[in-house]
């Protein structure tokens, strides 16, 4: 099953030195992403399946096994979703368009 991810509008985010810092505008919680997570975050447009994002943005740029990369990416996305800064869905996320 494909999953789709979209950045929450309830955040302030900025790439500094190639890595994202993200602040939830709901509770001021702060998150920092490493290079790989930053690639996934920036590609989280709600339309591109996570598997495609991992293939194009992670496997193509970093030395990693596809299965491991996907599992790590999904885990990261679910953790960010728990904090409300990313949305995960089994369908394309229309509101992200």
């Amino acid at each position: 099953m494909s999953i789709y991810i979209a950045r929450s509008p309830a955040v302030a985010a900025r790439s500094l030195d190639g890595e994202m810092i993200i602040m939830s505008t709901k509770d001021s919680k702060l998150f920092t992403l490493n290079e790989v997570a930053t690639e996934i975050w920036q590609a989280a447009d709600g339309r591109t399946p996570l598997a495609q994002i991992v293939q194009e943005k992670v496997c193509a740029k970093f030395e990693t096994e596809p299965e491991t990369a996907y599992a790590d990416a999904e885990d990261m996305c679910r953790r960010l979703a728990e904090h409300g800064i990313l949305t995960i869905s089994s369908q394309p996320i229309e509101s992200a368009r």
Binding site: D17, I21, M23, L30
Partner: protein
Amino acid sequence: MTSDTVIEIAGIPILLRSHDSVFEPAVRKYYADFITPVASVAPVELTVEVDASGFPDPETVGAGGAVPVVDVAWTGDRWRLERFDFRGEWSPGTGRGQVCLAQPQALQSIDSVLRILHSILAVPPGGCLVHAASAVRNGSAFLFPGVSGAGKSTLSGLIPSDATLLTDEISYVRQAEGGYRAFGTPFAGNLGAPGKNVSAPLKAVYLLNKGPRNKIDPLSRKEAATALLRNVLFFAKDPELIRTVFETVCRLVASVPVYRLTFLPTPEVWEIIA
């Protein structure tokens, strides 16, 4: 009798209007360096009342080590603020508001109200309040952010005679021509005394870290922004305010160098701050 007192911090005057004969002289004495003449129109006017009814017994607050909760909320047209020792509201639209204090002589109550209001007022023009000591030396300001115990008051207590302390606890930073400017505040920490009411261009930020020897390490912009954001005063749960502060801090670390200052609590630490 009504008395008006204007306390101006970082160029932002707040007029306090009170009928209480104990409150007004206490405020004038403590904030002496920040009192300015009453202007015809102040952007912020607060009517201050003193009435203990409805407040909890101060002896019971903080029992068991609990930290008193500050509630700051936007209600659609005004800010509402409440703690165990004060409650009030202020409307940006009218500039007017009122606050009720549980005790007339409790300066920490009005001090907290002022901190909250300034943490809101500082944001739209590109500023913020930071948990940080700050000082002016040779015409430049230096900011020393740190959580409780990081050494803000320790470093402030070691300040050399050629430097001026802006605060040992809460620093005020505002966007200014070509950069940022740090202002003195009356918001004191362990030193228990207000800072000087002066300001200067912000030259550098030093994140405090006690250690075995004095040294300075540069931080990346990501490290700097993250560390600084963790020390910004965020009382208000307001998305737009949070977003603006976030952008302010990101811009600040792009224009002002940020270092980690590891230091021994001796006067020699000031020799490497320049």
